[in-house]
Symmetry: D2
Subunit: 438 residues, 4 copies
Amino acid sequence: MDLAKYQVETLGECSIESPLKLPVSSGAGMAGYVSDSVRIHARIECQEDSSESPVTLEKAGPRAKIYFRPGYTRAAIVTCGGLSPGLNNVIRSIFMQTYHRYGVKTVLGIRNGYSGFNPKSKHKPMLLTPDIVDRIHTMPGTILGTSRGAEDPKIITDTLEREGINILFTLGGDGTLKGLHSIWQEIKRRGLKIAVVGVPKTIDNDINFVYKTFGFDTAVEEAKRALDCAHAEARSHPNGIGLVKVMGRDSGFIVGYAALASRDVNFALIPEIPFELKGKNGLFHHLEKRLKARNHALIVVAEGAGQHLMGNALAEKDPSGNPRYLDVGEFLKSKIQEHFSGKGIQTNLKYIDPSYTIRSVLPNANDSIYCDNLSRYAVHAAMAGKTDLVIGQWHNVFTHVPIELATAQRKTIQPESTLWLSVLEATGQPAGMHHRPT
Amino acid sequence: MDLAKYQVETLGECSIESPLKLPVSSGAGMAGYVSDSVRIHARIECQEDSSESPVTLEKAGPRAKIYFRPGYTRAAIVTCGGLSPGLNNVIRSIFMQTYHRYGVKTVLGIRNGYSGFNPKSKHKPMLLTPDIVDRIHTMPGTILGTSRGAEDPKIITDTLEREGINILFTLGGDGTLKGLHSIWQEIKRRGLKIAVVGVPKTIDNDINFVYKTFGFDTAVEEAKRALDCAHAEARSHPNGIGLVKVMGRDSGFIVGYAALASRDVNFALIPEIPFELKGKNGLFHHLEKRLKARNHALIVVAEGAGQHLMGNALAEKDPSGNPRYLDVGEFLKSKIQEHFSGKGIQTNLKYIDPSYTIRSVLPNANDSIYCDNLSRYAVHAAMAGKTDLVIGQWHNVFTHVPIELATAQRKTIQPESTLWLSVLEATGQPAGMHHRPT
Amino acid sequence: MDLAKYQVETLGECSIESPLKLPVSSGAGMAGYVSDSVRIHARIECQEDSSESPVTLEKAGPRAKIYFRPGYTRAAIVTCGGLSPGLNNVIRSIFMQTYHRYGVKTVLGIRNGYSGFNPKSKHKPMLLTPDIVDRIHTMPGTILGTSRGAEDPKIITDTLEREGINILFTLGGDGTLKGLHSIWQEIKRRGLKIAVVGVPKTIDNDINFVYKTFGFDTAVEEAKRALDCAHAEARSHPNGIGLVKVMGRDSGFIVGYAALASRDVNFALIPEIPFELKGKNGLFHHLEKRLKARNHALIVVAEGAGQHLMGNALAEKDPSGNPRYLDVGEFLKSKIQEHFSGKGIQTNLKYIDPSYTIRSVLPNANDSIYCDNLSRYAVHAAMAGKTDLVIGQWHNVFTHVPIELATAQRKTIQPESTLWLSVLEATGQPAGMHHRPT
Amino acid sequence: MDLAKYQVETLGECSIESPLKLPVSSGAGMAGYVSDSVRIHARIECQEDSSESPVTLEKAGPRAKIYFRPGYTRAAIVTCGGLSPGLNNVIRSIFMQTYHRYGVKTVLGIRNGYSGFNPKSKHKPMLLTPDIVDRIHTMPGTILGTSRGAEDPKIITDTLEREGINILFTLGGDGTLKGLHSIWQEIKRRGLKIAVVGVPKTIDNDINFVYKTFGFDTAVEEAKRALDCAHAEARSHPNGIGLVKVMGRDSGFIVGYAALASRDVNFALIPEIPFELKGKNGLFHHLEKRLKARNHALIVVAEGAGQHLMGNALAEKDPSGNPRYLDVGEFLKSKIQEHFSGKGIQTNLKYIDPSYTIRSVLPNANDSIYCDNLSRYAVHAAMAGKTDLVIGQWHNVFTHVPIELATAQRKTIQPESTLWLSVLEATGQPAGMHHRPT
């Protein structure tokens, strides 16, 4: 992937002094502004003798000169797609930073996702105030409402123009960000000066060049709770099998991290690594071995795993344009029961689908902090006229990721990654559960 | 129900001094023994002018004279049926009280429910020791294993005889207790001196004359977590509907208490109170009104509710002899979606089934204490030669409930109870959602 | 204690039909009204041959006829003393019941305890609305504010008159309730028709004839957390001693219940049972034995325990008129360290004082339900013109307890109670750690 | 700081094939070995035009050739200093990786810190087994025991020799690691082939070139709980002031992160940034302003902050050689009360010291994963004969940090860091609360 071809867009030259009153030189006893020329190595490993030229990402942070004059600026926030722990934290922190620190007094909340831009929508944008956002970080979900599905970029841009909005903050995942890029293209086509900045939100943690999406840590914590329950069930029954399905359409990050956190998982099944049920190297074979050795087993599967086993052509689409997945949890449950009862082996399978409970809780401390940081950097970027980007974190540094780069491909677990090696070592499962080439 | 006809069985006269060394008279600065003649009013309400004769239950507690000579006594514990938070606490407290306080040095753990009494069983009884039980109260599930289903009382009694067991503690619900009563009848038929004492365990809280089963409070706490999640989902989507299914085959106690704890439920559906979907007083009608008024709604349904709506003849049985229920959660989900989409109303229904997660967690503080008390009283009863009973709690006092009384009928939510009135007031739902008589 | 002499006060005859529309006869499929003549046995144990006449408490619940005409009634709520988990739940449920169920449209919130009745107070009463109370059950603390200390009953009654308040709900403990009784006497002296009803709030759970105060369960849960931490510290250090101080001025209920829930406590020290440090039966002696046997020990002490050891004359008073206690936690910490280091025994004492953290959290599910019930019954009582009472729960039934009865003495742990016996059995500590009479 | 001068020590050439059976070339579908020549940029920011030569750290990971022959290798683990969430996870993961993956069958647990090496110690080393470590990740604390204080490196090395130990894993912080370096020097002096590898453990998160110590995230989560409680207290009382003291001797990381997570803190006081109480820019002045504006305030202070205000010469030392700190929590409590009561302003200050409760809990999911990774990398390093190093994480990559580098200075919050800027923006407190130069 050629990073060099992805550049951060800006609306134009920044000529306005930032109202943040940060020091302009070091030695002032507190952090100062970040220059556009500071960049982050995308790849921080190096061979001592390597001479490859480094690829870099633009560093996020407050700029000394900004593009928008605060007193004349109007901002808007929209939340799209499914819930993630911390949505209200992000709404609140974007508001606080924009309103109190930069002095932008008009921040609108668009209702129910992109559909809230449609004049036909039942719910009009709401004007956010300090009172409204005061305690929302103690409420799960999003006070703005959310929805899946696209809206015509022209209609959205019409509304942005009509409402005089200069900055649009969008919280969403892959589909939402692609939509935001289309909006940006429409804005550019019309020659408007509107900055659009994304905050990466997807419980699947699958956004390219974004180390971690907000709420992901919390979702792992909750998924681990379900694993602990399934483990207790499995250990308490003869030939007990705990089976847990968690979110993860194309990426198995929740499965992988929850398996690592639990330490009790024996089989972690993810979309990235196909597996077979039958045969000498299939799941059934290894599961039977495990039951013989220890009398119980724990399996965790991502919702997008094993679709090939169900003959899913993935042709049907949901309103966001994502393929509809078949239910791999119920499928595995019945296939495993069928298999063992066919062999005269009595098992006790307990199936748990925590479903939405991993994403509709309050964020843990780590995610709360992360939400706040992402929000703050989104505001810094937007005020400096940067646009068509999403705030990322890479090697613990906050960065500006061009939306096209962030959506160029989904981030997935690489079989050759140390993450996956950790999962293999923690579970003891074989590196691949498919027919070996003869 | 004529309580007077149910009497606590005893093995015979108690002639052995209790080793507990409690004071025999009051004023000694600590609690003493309880006399068999102390009884508890089953009904504590009275009209001032009423002259009805009170019915009473035998009070639990340590007796000054006991039946079994500790040094010559062998006890066993068996856990049956599904998990409940606190099983290991009960195992531990029964062991500690029997071993340390009464000096009974042989306490066996029967493996995997009643099936563990069968000599063909793979797992032999284990000898419990202080080391084994030391930290088990920090582990969910049961270290003994559990299973559903009956075992021939003759086979069980054979094993009790062969192992020289004098006392059998059984943790289980309605079916398990009925089984225990059959075992007792076989013991009596053979003229054996074996005490059988039940500790009431069912997550549904449906045991007659037992105010609350252990683990129930914790299950409500966990069910409320799922309701909180469903509520966050519902509030965050236009016309969002949260639908949560929780355990409760014949009794809606988890639904009722979780609805009261959450304060956000609009419709609580329980097996005791039939409801209709359609018509002027059906669920759909009231749900639509709610959505129009507030744009979101939260429904909680017990697994045993609404079976009549699905044409469930309840003919099929599971291994414990309980009728197999159809999945009311999936049924309601599809019927609600169908109904509203048929009327051209777009809704966002999020369905959550916390399933086993409400019962395979550690007990909360309240349940931990309750587990310990039940266990202690079970040991007092058994050592005094009392048998064919289950330990209950009634009006905050621990009692001896004859098994026949405890299993004479299932405890259910009475529509005329103040509990149900509280639920109606908390949810605002109509007292009945069925066709009114014309 | 002669219960018969305590009667529930009423403002007068109830002539108004209740707006609750409950059935007036049984068989209607839902709960109906409660007659004033239904009473609760205060003592539910009986000897079969006893002929003592039973003492009873009035049962709480909705009355068919009420005293106040809802459309013309104004109510007020005040929260006094320290926090308890669930204060906002009670405020919300009282409001919901009064406003929605009875149709009383004016419910005032008095600010910052009794001091908010003083016209000189900075904060005026606030008018509560459905919007204000909507989500307050998700916020710990009290939205009304609270404070310790009395206010002149005359000033309070002046304000009640001036504001046209007909019903005053007061959330508080012993001191607050005594204050409420004084207010009632002033009201009566003036011949006013104002009902005053208390909701029992004290984290110490020390109100007479009230089985449990709201928030107590949650406080025990939190106290157990601190015990778990102290236990981990103690077990992880050679001769580790965990020492935890929890609330409990005159009553050791939090100590007792938390010790039962933890199962790891070795010494539970409460105000009701004096103990010595030195001598053959003192704490040091038993602690040394425990350390020798197991290398670690866990102690929990109530703040009001052991005051005699510190030579506390308890002469100084705080603003609520309670004696100021010396810090028994720091005292024990230094005395234990001093003792063992004096004997050349190296110990690792870790002292934890969870202080306010046990009372400023959200209520658990059980307490949430309890808060709601207490509130609902408080409203029923007040609307029926009952006054000078506090809502209690006794043997699981809600009752009307005359304030004079509730404050006649503090509820404490009786050394002869089964509760204390449970603690002794769970901890293994001696029944008394003081010099035995020679 | 000149990183180049710090090199990872190795025992010698690695000539043994690793038993891990990882692929030796990429494209094998799973992660392979890491070459010693792969290094990590220590500084990943770059100016586009910069030509400074990069400094790097050695990357951690499994090596294809290892130094120790597993069948002949004996390892030992020791835990030193205070508790951190996850100690038992680390012990378990080191054991699992060493025993199961590398096939080292002897892993000893040294008891109670470095003192356990002393032959006079009461507790002999224990042989770890799969059964012993099976469930220890569900227990807080350390099963090995821990203690503060040094032990003569000669005595420790004698024991290492006598027990035939080839690898020593040490879990500890700054003092412990310095001790480990001394042990290494003694080992080297004697020409022994013993690898010593540290796992960074300190709740203060103050180890140089280690991004985060294990357990830190969990400690922040717990500290935030105390802040939430203090905030509820403060908001519920007129002029309520919540004051919380948390750990942090030389570094304010817990304060900083907990303040960011809570969003409710108004003043975060850390050791790195001195502050004054009085004067126009002192804490009292700003606190009074805050109370006037909002009627409540929340302060969090690190235990090591404000020592200068108490005239602490820091001359006294504890057994680990750290200076004894005075109690800044009690100091601030009394000074604030004194100040405001001196000005006739009534305040309600609630002081909470969560003390050990933030470190003696189980690790959260994130920390569990982190513990496992650190452990695994420690084993890889040791088996490859690397020594005198601590496992670090830097920019999300695991690294080998020479102990001298890790202990060259304490990691602290830099006033000019973006972390501190975030805290300033979240709290709204002034950048410095000291007398401004005139």
